[in-house]
Each structure stands twice: as structure tokens, then as C-alpha cells.
């Protein structure tokens, strides 16, 4: 039985390089494990984080840039924010459509996966300023005593 966690927080900053996706994923998964998520739910959280961070790495910057990832546990809820200070998304609604991608090599499923694997997804973006992706997932597993 994990330690009862009323409230916890973490903040991670990485450079926008493909080889850094994995470390964000394991850090957030370890953080999320402080709630009693099932293994399947942890897997879903890993995919969602991977998609958000991969988007910032791929789409936000032409050159090098920074990406910030914040995790928060509040009661039984896990909140994850991924932000960059890059190009931004001109039309967020369009970007969130399945199969929409500005890169012909990609599937356009990033936002779809984030949305289906988390309970809430909020995307705020300002062209030229950057993008903030906020996700939330509630842990519903009954606490086995």
C-alpha cells in the first residue's frame, strides 16, 4: 500500500531533443505510481505524456528549445502540464482532430491519444508564444486495506 499522499508536486525541464522523451515518461510514471493506478492506467499516462512531449520536441521549435513538465497529485487526481515556449498552434480545434497533422510523416493521433487516455485535456496555445497542454486523470481504484 503506497504512502497516503495528500498533495505532491514535481517539475522537470528538458531540452527539446528526441532522446529525452523516455526520461520524462519514466519520471512521470514513477510519480503517478504514488496513487493506486492500475498498470494499464500507468501505461495510458505514459502514452499521453509521450505524445505531449513529442509534440513540443517536434513541432514547437526550429532550433533548440526548452520543455517544462509539471506533475501534481491532489487527492486522487493526477495533473500533468507540458509546456513549451515555441511557435504555438494557429488553430487548436483543427489540430485536435483525428488524423490532422502538419507533418506528412506523422499520424496526427497525438491529441487523440491524450484525450482518450486521460480524463481531461486542455490545450492553450498562442502563436509565437508557445503551447500549454494540461491533462488530468483521476485514480478510481478502491484503496485495498
Amino acid at each position: 500500500m503506497p504512502v497516503q499522499t495528500a498533495q505532491n508536486e514535481m517539475r522537470l525541464e528538458i531540452l527539446s531533443r528526441p532522446e529525452n522523451v523516455g526520461l520524462v515518461r519514466v519520471a512521470v510514471a514513477a510519480f503517478a505510481s504514488q496513487l493506486e493506478f492500475t498498470l494499464g492506467e500507468i501505461e495510458e499516462i505514459k502514452v499521453a505524456v509521450s505524445e505531449a512531449v513529442s509534440n513540443s520536441i517536434l513541432h514547437a521549435y526550429d532550433g533548440p528549445g526548452r520543455i517544462g513538465v509539471t506533475g501534481r497529485i491532489d487527492g486522487q487526481a493526477l495533473e500533468i502540464t507540458v509546456e513549451d515556449w515555441g511557435k504555438g498552434i494557429p488553430d487548436v480545434e483543427e489540430a485536435r482532430q483525428p488524423a490532422f497533422s502538419t507533418d506528412p510523416e506523422r499520424m496526427g493521433l497525438g491529441f487523440v491519444f491524450m484525450e482518450s487516455f486521460m480524463d481531461d485535456l486542455e490545450v492553450t496555445s498562442q502563436p509565437g508564444k508557445g503551447t500549454v497542454v494540461h491533462m488530468r486523470k483521476v485514480c478510481r481504484a478502491p484503496a485495498v486495506q
Binding site: G22, R25, E43, S50, S54, M107, F113, S116
Partner: protein, 110 residues
């Protein structure tokens, strides 16, 4: 991401091990292109049994190989994805395009 390569019955067999994401997709893409070219074959069997994680970048890398192979009238098959990887192949629709087998033998027999 480790990639092991075997050539059998006219097919390039690649056995992947590790996480297939944005950080490793390029390693896989290069290994696949290079092996297909070297063997002059456009038949690819991708053994996913050792893949512990996949996201849309990984799925895209697999689909990208499929597209190149299809252009050249080749053939591609996936083998033995673990439960979590199989779920992603289904959600993304990749499993409708590329056939999945539970062993390399069956994939080669086609």
C-alpha cells in the same frame, strides 16, 4: 531500442527490443531501410515481442515502413505484440492495414 536482424525464406526479420518512441524511431527506421536494401528484398517481418512501449511516433515509424514496402509491391507482417502494444495497434487502425501473426513461422508462411 535494440534491433536484431535475421534473413529467412526471402524475408528480412527484425526483432525489436525496448521502447519504440520519438527517441528510438529513427534507429528502427534506419535499421529497416538498410536491411531491406542490403538484401534487395521488400518482405519485412517485424517481431514486436520485445517492445515494452509504443506511442504514435512508434506506430508512425511502423506505418512509414509499410508505405515504402507497399510502393514496391513488397509485403510486411507484424509478430507477437505484447498486450499494451497490440491495444495501440488496434486503436490507431494499423492492425487493419498490416497483418499480425503470433509467430515468425506463421508470418513467413503468410
Amino acid at each position: 531500442m535494440l534491433v536484431q536482424e535475421v534473413f529467412s525464406a526471402g524475408h528480412v526479420i527484425l526483432r525489436l527490443e525496448g521502447e519504440l518512441d520519438l527517441g528510438t524511431a529513427e534507429t528502427f527506421r534506419r535499421a529497416a531501410e538498410e536491411a531491406l536494401e542490403r538484401h534487395g528484398s521488400y518482405r519485412l517481418v517485424l517481431n514486436l515481442a520485445g517492445v515494452s512501449f509504443i506511442d504514435s511516433s512508434g506506430l508512425g515509424a511502423i506505418l512509414g515502413r509499410y508505405r515504402r514496402i507497399a510502393q514496391r509491391q513488397g509485403r510486411m507482417a507484424l509478430v507477437a505484440p505484447p498486450e499494451n502494444v497490440r491495444a495501440m495497434l488496434e486503436l490507431s487502425g494499423v492492425f487493419k492495414v498490416i497483418p499480425i501473426y503470433d509467430s515468425e513461422q506463421k508470418a513467413l508462411a503468410g
